[in-house]
């Protein structure tokens, strides 16, 4: 009951005209950048970070959350019609969705993706509503030692477990932590890794790193392999209204996808790849027509698309309740909280109820707006998809420049932007994941802070991390997650 009352207050906040406008702007911008290949929610929110100096926190987070949800909807349009998924989590959607579009069923694929996203987004938000207060209760018992161990677990899962190579994932994670350490150490007042440059005393701005990796790096990568350009945009064909059979075959996958996606997203591990793959595999097993998979099975769009959106909703649970971001977008949202001087965590629900519940309520509203934006207005987004590449990437770099240059009108920032962009290019070419850089950069300094606090409390006794049961459990899980794959390959090699 308490939760429902809080949610009611949240709706009172979210339904004020000005906040409705922020939500509408957010979902519209979010859909647009989700549709545009090469742009993502992490980049967009990073570019918009400067507005945190201008508008109040509630409005800013309603806008950011709208972008976050909107990008999930928009991304499916691109993977269905263009077959170049914007992010790894939508690879599966393009697998079946693009085949459907080629067979003249593009409209039905877009419809099942949009409605599935709505179902998953809405039930995912219900999940946030009721799970968050429970996690908060639990998290109030956490001390610095537990937080540190939890962050170690998150580090391990986002870098070593998800993705193709544990070594490369961990390298980018450590690189991110290194970037996060640059500047004055807040506890001792000592400068670290500033290389004598006064510009670096305040640290490297996460905006520059995110824009460098996701805008400059991505543009370099695409320019370098231009001769391997993908095929063109497919037209939307067929009726936008799904047939009776389409509905019958979609409803199950929507709900199963949501059921798989939300819990995995809400775990401190995060990541949308695993639930989408799991949902695809599950639908293939359950389908009465498994032979259609790979040729455009509607279940293969409905399930993974729902799983993707539900896990995106799930990611907000550890972000809001524990201050633990498990995706690049969530990490940048966390840095937005920091720029307001707000620390996400269990206390957020007590100190900023209007902000938290207003944000959650706006997610419900945003989902309804997104369904309208993405079903009847899908033709508009298809037009955006047809922006020629030369103009699209020129425009992306203009916005990358203005976002970076606007921080302090310093060419040094542009130099850092280009260096990070070059590194981002190499990371893309040699298949290093980029998200751990952002997560390490934001979460690294927080983990260090908790490490030092825990050790101060225990008077320097490092066993504090293993004698406290919860902390020990979290560390044990992290260790297992690193070691199990290694043991697994050793065992397999011995057998072979």
């Amino acid at each position: 009951m308490e939760t429902l009352a809080a949610l009611g207050n949240g709706f009172a906040v979210a339904l004020t005209p000005i906040n409705l406008v922020w939500a509408a702007v957010g979902v519209t911008v979010g859909t647009a950048i989700g549709v545009l290949p090469g742009l993502g929610p992490a980049l967009t929110i990073a570019l918009l970070l400067p507005i945190t100096f201008k508008v109040d926190a509630t409005a800013a987070f309603i806008l950011f959350a709208g972008i976050y949800y909107g990008a999930m909807y928009g991304g499916s349009t691109t993977s269905i019609l263009l077959n170049t998924p914007g992010e790894s989590a939508t690879i599966i959607t393009s697998l079946e969705g693009n085949k459907m579009a080629k067979r003249g069923r593009g409209a039905a694929a877009l419809a099942t993706a949009a409605i599935g996203s709505f179902v998953a987004g809405t039930f995912g938000t219900v999940g946030i509503t009721f799970l968050a207060p429970v996690v908060v209760e639990f998290a109030l018992k956490f001390g610095p030692a537990e937080y540190f161990s939890l962050m170690v677990l998150a580090f391990v899962t986002v870098s070593a477990v998800l993705g193709s190579s544990a070594i490369r994932g961990l390298i980018t994670l450590f690189f991110g932590i290194f970037l996060g350490l640059i500047g004055i150490d807040l506890q001792s007042g000592q400068p670290r890794f500033t290389f004598g440059l006064p510009e670096l005393l305040d640290g490297v701005n996460v905006l520059i790193v995110a824009v460098g990796l996701f805008a400059v790096g991505e543009t370099l990568f695409l320019a370098a392999r231009r001769k391997h350009a993908p095929e063109g945009v497919l037209p939307v064909t067929g009726s936008l209204w799904m047939s009776k059979e389409d509905w019958r075959r979609s409803v199950g996958p929507w709900f199963r996808g949501t059921a798989v996606g939300f819990p995995i997203g809400a775990m401190p591990a995060g990541g949308a790849e695993i639930p989408t793959f799991l949902s695809y595999w599950m639908e293939k097993k359950l389908s009465k027509k498994p032979e259609e998979f790979g040729k455009g099975a509607i279940e293969g769009v409905a399930g993974p698309e729902a799983a993707n959106n539900a896990s995106a909703a799930g990611v907000l649970v550890p972000m809001l309740t524990l201050g633990l971001p498990t995706s690049a977008t969530a990490a940048i949202m966390l840095s937005a909280f920091q720029s307001y001087g707000i620390n996400p965590g269990p206390l957020l629900f007590q100190t900023q109820p209007d902000l938290v519940w207003g944000l959650i309520a706006s997610l419900y509203i945003g989902n309804v707006m997104l369904l309208v934006l993405n079903l009847p207005l899908v033709g508009l987004w298809v037009k955006i998809l047809k922006i020629p590449e030369p103009l699209l990437y020129g425009g992306i770099l203009i916005f990358a420049t203005i976002g970076t240059y606007g921080i302090s009108q310093s060419p040094i920032d542009l130099v850092i932007l280009y260096v990070v962009g070059g590194i981002g290019y190499l990371m893309r070419r040699f298949d290093f994941p980029t998200a751990p850089v952002i997560i390490g950069m934001i979460l690294g300094p927080l983990a260090e802070q908790n490490l030092r606090q825990a050790l101060t409390i225990s008077q320097g006794d490092v066993t504090t991390f293993v004698t406290r049961p919860l902390s020990a459990t979290l560390l044990a899980i992290s260790l297992l997650l690193v070691l199990l794959p290694v043991i697994w390959t050793l065992v397999r090699r011995r057998r072979a």
């Binding site: 290194f178 320019a223 040699f430």
Partner: protein
């Protein structure tokens, strides 16, 4: 199973080098005796050791050919002319944004980037570039109130 691949070796060496630089810089962090136990060096040391160890592991993988990834990416030829145009655009932007202002510098970058992506219409691109740059400038400077600095065209607005 011995398939040495030079680009991968170079990447691994880069990681190793970064780890060594971090280690060297960690020694440079001044520490007051008050923070002797859990001072500002603990995590930097961990990061440098991590990077060095991982760089070595990556080097082993690249020498033994156990570096598995999207193989087709590796053997793909790089489109150097495109990258060159893109690089030219970035350098022009960086050097001209101070003296000429954001709008002109970014428009020149836009034209170069468009060329990198195969456009053959520099005049048309200039027109689109000016419009995009002006929209970005007005949005950030006038609407969001973020100072983008002075410039020739900016002064007229």
């Amino acid at each position: 199973m011995f398939s040495l691949r030079w680009p991968q070796v170079a990447v691994a060496s880069g990681v190793l080098l970064l780890g060594l630089v971090v280690l060297w810089q960690t020694f440079q962090i001044p520490v007051s005796p008050l923070y002797a136990r859990i001072g500002p060096k603990v995590v930097p040391f961990a990061v440098s050791f991590g990077l060095i160890a991982l760089g070595l592991a990556l080097a082993v993988q690249s020498v033994t050919g156990r570096w598995t990834d999207e193989a087709e990416l590796q053997d793909e030829p790089v489109d150097w002319p495109s990258l060159g145009w893109l690089g030219l655009g970035l350098v022009l932007n960086l050097t001209l944004i101070g003296p000429l202002g954001f709008v002109i510098a970014s428009t020149l970058m836009f034209v170069c980037v468009a060329r990198a992506f195969g456009s053959r219409r520099p005049l048309f691109d200039t027109g689109v570039g000016v419009i995009v740059a002006l929209v970005a400038y007005l949005g950030f400077d006038k609407v969001l109130g973020i100072n983008i600095g002075a410039g020739i065209l900016e002064g007229l607005l």
